[in-house]
Symmetry: C2
Subunit: 151 residues, 2 copies
Amino acid sequence: MTAYTATSLKAELNERGWRLTPQRETILTIFQNLPKGNHLSAEDLYNLLSEEGHHISLSTIYRTLKLMARMGILRELELAEGHKHYEINQPAPYHHHHLICVRCNKTIEFKNDGILKTGSRTAQKEGYHLLDCQLIIHAICPTCQRSLLPI
Amino acid sequence: MTAYTATSLKAELNERGWRLTPQRETILTIFQNLPKGNHLSAEDLYNLLSEEGHHISLSTIYRTLKLMARMGILRELELAEGHKHYEINQPAPYHHHHLICVRCNKTIEFKNDGILKTGSRTAQKEGYHLLDCQLIIHAICPTCQRSLLPI
DNA sequence: AGCTTTATTGAGAAGGATACACAATAACTC
DNA sequence: GAGTTATTGTGTATCCTTCTCAATAAAGCT
């Protein structure tokens, strides 16, 4: 959960025998410049890159998203929409969690420093190397509670 | 997060204009009798039911799992395996969370009463009706840390 | 109990997100 | 700068999940 630069990303990739490519660097930059609280699906990222004139294939995008999630650079969010979303993984005080309406997918972010501490402590206790820690609250928002729609 | 019986499930379904079917009752029973800490995928459930002589279609299983998750009866778990798992949703002191190795999917359960309280408080503050609250810790287990396998 | 309404089921097909295969390319090491 | 090999891009494949729709069967009412 440290702030990555192209240089530090390259160092960490090379250390494992991997390579820094323009595609990976571009994708990292996109996420770093994303307004706080924004998260992208693979397709969102593909479209955003296309708009900016970068042509990176969907395969590369999926591979890069998974790679960076497993390096701890990105968080993989399951926001109850049938596909994953990704956002930059930041330490406190930017670290946050999600309250999600399972009906309309409306999502509210909230912060709680204790949770990250609990996560770190738990991972450490079991000898696990922490990548990400997220509290997901599934609920029904006020609007959907009032609606009579099924489920 | 209350303990359901066939009767209380029926009452809650009927209240919304829905119906209690033998399929739904059977599936609820399966989850209630599942050893603590066990969770099933849709296919797991299908196979388990088949073994016991119950022929419930996959369509119905998927529909029932989603229905019960949205009623707060089941928890929908994303254990980094490409498909969802479900388990009965129980209050403290049975309520628990998951520490998951993103490489080998090894999962450890742990308890922390504070998290459920945080979840309840957050949902309430925003006027959301709480269904489930789970802390997911993505990490790399000791074994996978030692392995030299990619990603 | 029997009747009516309509939610639910089952079977198969469809959909959509993600992963795969492999030749061409290009990043790293020496 | 040359060799090695990780990575990319294109198209294809795969898997999980949802949809369609006729047949069935709960729930409510008389």
